[in-house]
Symmetry: none
Subunit: 455 residues, 2 copies
C-alpha cells in the first residue's frame, strides 16, 4: 500500500456512522467576514445519505482551540468532517492540529508531493518550501487526492472510539468534489437505506397557495416529513420518508407522497430531485430538437449564462444579444426607434420586438427577451423598480408568434435580475410542456399575444 | 426590581468580555435545510465592538446535546450568545436547556406574560397554553423584550466563571434588533474600541507567492493578525489590528500594515474592503469616461451579467454578443470562417477576432472576448477542459489594438466559467491601472499583441 492509499475498508462489522459532526476553521469565519456555507452543504449531503449531523462547530486559526475542538468532537461522533486550514499559509493549521491530536509528527507524503509538483509544473510553477507543507500529513493519516486544488485532504482515525476524521479544503469548489469522491462512498449509515428523500420543484404559484393544497401532507407526526421551502420564486416540496422495513418501503412511501403532491400541484411542477429549471428547459428543447436564442437588457447576459450552466447546453443554445443600451437594441435587434420613444425600453412592446428581432437574426426556434428596471435607481411611479417585461417568440411561417408579459418582482438588484431569468425560463418551460393556463411568476395582468412578421 | 429588569450592571471591575461564543440551535440547521446566517452576523458585530468570537457551535433540537453544548461553551468564553429555540413548539428547547444548565425550574415571568398577552390581543388572538410557554424563564434569568415577535430573549449568568449568556430568537428580523437593543450596550470589550480591520483584494498571483511576499506580516504572535484567503482566483489579505491605546492606534496600525502589504503586492492589488473586481472595473471605466462591450462564447453572458451586477453599470456597459454557436460568431461578429477552421473556436485568434468584431459593431472604447472549453465534455489532449482564450480590444485609429491570452483554469464547469470572467475583468482592470507587466490569472505563455483593422 503506497503512502497515499486510503486505509483498507474495514470489515462489515465496523461501527456505523450513527452521528457526524462538522468542524470548520478560519479567522474569517470568526470575524464574520465569511459565511460558512460548507457546514450546510455537508449536512444536507450527510442527511441524505442517512448519517445524522449532530453538531457544527467553527473556530479560528488557533492551534490550541482547533486541537481542543477536534478532541471534543471525536469523543462525540464516530464521524468528523473538517473543512479549511489546509492551505500553504501560516494560518493554515489543520495539519498541525491533527498531528497534535494524534501526538504524532508531520511527515512528507511522497505521492502527495509528487502530485503537487506535477500540478504546479503543468502551470509553469516551481514547488516552493511553502507549497511543500501541503504535502505533509500526520504519520497515521492518508492523503486524499484533490483534483481541483493544491491541498490534498486527510483521513485518519482518532479519539478513544477511533472516530473517522476527514479533513477537506475550505473552498467549496474543492470541498464538494472531494466529499463526493472520498467521503460519500465511505459512509456507513446506521439505517441502511431505510430512508428516502424526494424533492419536487414548482414555479408560478405562491408558497402559501402551494402549502394550502398539500396541508394534509405537511402535518407533523408519523415517519414521513413533508415541507415546502421557497428560494427566489422556485418552491421545493421536500418529502423525507423513513421506514424500519428497509429502503424499499421508505422509497415506496416517499413516492406515494410525491405522487399525491404532484397531483395537487400540477401544472406548476417542472421537475424533481436534482433537476433545475434551466436543466429541464435544456432537456425539453433537446427532446423537441429545437434551439433557443436570448435578447437581454437588464439581465445583461444572466439568462444566457444560466442556460449555459447546464452541461450540453450547446445542443440547444445558439447565443444571443446583450442590448443594455438603447443604441444596441436598435442597431443589433432592429427594435424600432418609435417603439422605444412611444413605450419606453421597459415595455411589453420593446420586449416583443427584441424577441422577434433575435429570432430574425439567427436560426433558433425560440427566443426569450428580458427588459426591466433592476434598480436601485431608474424606477418611476408608473414603472417602479422591479418592473420587468419578458417575451417569448416562436418561429412560424414568415415571422414569429410572440407572447409578452409584464411582471413586478420584489427584491434587490440581484434578486430582480435572477428572478426575471427564472420567469422567462418558466414561461418557455410551461409552453414546451403545453401548460397554457397558468401565469408565470410575478406576472401582472394578462399576457399579450401577437404575430411579428420578419421584414 | 421587577422580574423583567435586566440585572443591575456590575461595578467597573467586572471582568471584560475577552472572548465570545455563538451557539445556534435547530434541526433545520443540522439537516442542511437552513443556512445559519446569524452566527456570521453576530460575529461581525461582536468583532466590530472589540469582542473576539472564538467559537461557533450549532446543535439540533435535542435537550441533552443543547445543554451539553451550553455547559461546554460557558466554560470557554465569558460571553455566550445563543440563537433559536425560543418558539412555542415542542422543538423549542432553549428555555429548558438553560434551566437544566442552572439546575433551576422554569417559572412564569409576569411582565413577559403580560407583554405577550398584549401583543396577541393587538392581533385579535387569544393567549394559548402553547404561547404561555414563551413567557417562562429559569429562576435566575431576566427576560429581554422582543419588539418584533412573541419570543422574549433571556439573560443570565452560568458556569464556574459566571459567563454571561444571552438567548435570542432565531429569525434574523427579531435577533438583530434585540442584539442591538440588549446585547451591544452590555458588551465590555477588553480593549475598548481598539480594534480595526482592513481587507486588500488581489488578482493575478498564486496564494503561495502572495504569502511569501508578506511572510513576515502573516507570522503569528503580536496584537495584529494578517492572513490570506482565496476564492475563485481572487485573494484577500485580511488585516486585523488591536491596540490597548484605543481605536485610533488600532486603525493606524492596520493602515501601516495595509500600506506595507500593498507595497509588497502591487501590481496585483485591485481594491480594498468592500470593493469587488467588477465594481472597481466599472468605477475605473466611469472615471476614464470609457465604455465596454463583451463578446462571449463559453461564458454565454456571465461576463456581461457580472459587470451589470454593479449598480450604475449602464454608464459604462454598452452590451454585447453571446456567440455560443460558431454560426453566430461568423454572422454577428464577423469572425472569419478561415480562423475558425484553422485555429478552432477556442483559440487566441478567434478570441481576438471576437473582441475586434464587437468593437467594430458598437461605440464602446473596449471590448472583452471569452471563448473556452468549460467542460465536462469537449476537451482534447491539445486543449483540455479549462482551456480558455480571452482577448481585450481597445479602439484606436481605424481599428483595434488587441491583446489575447491563453489560460488553463482548474475546476468544474461553473468554476471555469466564473474564473474566465474574473480573468477577463482582471486583464482590463490592470490595463486601466496601467499595470502592463504581470500576467492575468491562470495565464499560460506570453500574451499576443496585434492590430486588427476595421474593414
Amino acid at each position: 500500500m503506497s503512502a497515499s492509499d486510503p486505509p483498507a475498508s474495514g470489515p462489515l462489522t465496523e461501527p456505523a456512522h450513527t452521528a457526524a459532526a462538522v468542524l470548520s476553521t478560519g479567522d474569517e469565519i470568526m470575524l464574520g467576514q465569511l459565511q460558512d456555507t460548507n457546514a450546510r452543504w455537508l449536512s444536507e449531503r450527510l442527511a441524505q445519505a442517512g448519517v445524522p449531523v449532530v453538531a457544527h462547530m467553527a473556530v479560528g486559526d488557533d492551534l490550541a482551540r482547533l486541537t481542543a475542538a477536534l478532541r471534543g468532537l471525536v469523543g462525540q461522533a464516530p464521524l468528523v468532517i473538517m473543512t479549511g486550514g489546509l492551505g500553504p499559509t501560516d494560518g493554515d493549521l489543520t495539519r498541525a492540529a491533527l498531528a497534535a491530536l494524534q501526538g504524532e509528527p508531520l511527515i512528507e507524503d511522497p505521492a502527495a508531493l509528487e502530485a503537487l509538483r506535477a500540478r504546479l509544473a503543468a502551470r509553469g510553477r516551481a514547488l516552493s518550501d511553502r507549497n511543500r507543507r501541503q504535502a505533509t500529513r500526520p504519520v497515521s493519516a492518508a492523503c486524499l487526492h484533490n483534483a481541483h486544488g493544491t491541498a490534498p485532504g486527510l483521513r485518519l482515525r482518532a479519539g478513544p472510539g477511533l472516530a473517522e476524521v476527514f479533513a477537506l479544503p475550505g473552498p467549496p469548489g474543492e470541498l464538494r468534489p472531494m466529499f463526493l469522491a472520498h467521503v460519500e462512498p465511505a459512509l456507513r449509515p446506521a439505517v441502511r437505506g431505510g430512508l428516502a428523500t424526494t424533492l419536487l420543484h414548482l414555479a408560478g404559484v405562491p408558497e402559501s397557495d402551494a402549502a394550502e393544497r398539500i396541508a394534509d401532507l405537511t402535518a407533523r407526526g408519523g415517519e414521513s416529513v413533508v415541507n415546502i421551502t421557497a428560494s427566489g420564486g422556485v418552491l421545493t416540496v421536500r418529502i423525507r420518508s423513513a421506514s424500519a422495513l428497509g429502503p424499499g418501503a421508505a422509497r415506496a412511501e416517499a413516492e406515494r407522497l410525491a405522487a399525491l403532491a404532484r397531483q395537487r400541484l400540477a401544472p406548476y411542477v417542472f421537475g424533481a430531485d436534482a433537476e433545475t429549471l434551466q436543466g429541464v428547459l435544456v432537456r425539453r428543447l433537446a427532446q423537441a430538437g429545437q434551439r433557443l436564442a436570448v435578447a437581454e437588457s437588464c439581465t445583461a447576459g444572466l439568462l444566457g449564462a444560466t442556460i449555459a450552466s447546464v452541461p450540453g447546453a450547446s445542443a440547444v443554445l445558439d447565443g444571443g444579444w446583450i442590448t443594455y443600451s438603447n443604441g444596441l437594441k436598435v442597431a443589433q435587434l432592429g427594435v424600432p426607434e418609435a417603439t422605444l420613444a412611444q413605450h419606453g425600453a421597459v415595455s411589453v412592446q420593446t420586449a416583443a420586438q427584441m424577441a422577434a428581432g433575435a429570432l430574425a437574426r439567427c436560426a433558433a426556434t425560440h427566443a426569450l427577451a428580458v427588459t426591466g428596471i433592476a434598480g436601485p435607481d431608474g424606477g418611476t411611479p408608473d414603472k417602479p423598480v422591479g418592473t420587468v417585461c419578458i417575451a417569448h417568440a416562436q418561429r412560424t411561417s414568415g415571422g414569429a408568434e410572440v407572447v409578452s408579459r409584464r411582471l413586478l418582482i420584489a427584491g434587490d438588484r440581484q434578486d430582480v435580475r435572477e428572478r426575471a431569468c427564472r420567469a422567462a425560463m418558466s414561461a418557455l418551460e410551461m409552453h414546451l410542456r403545453e401548460e397554457r393556463s397558468p401565469g408565470v411568476l410575478w406576472q401582472i395582468g394578462p399576457a399579450t399575444r401577437e404575430f411579428q412578421p420578419f421584414l
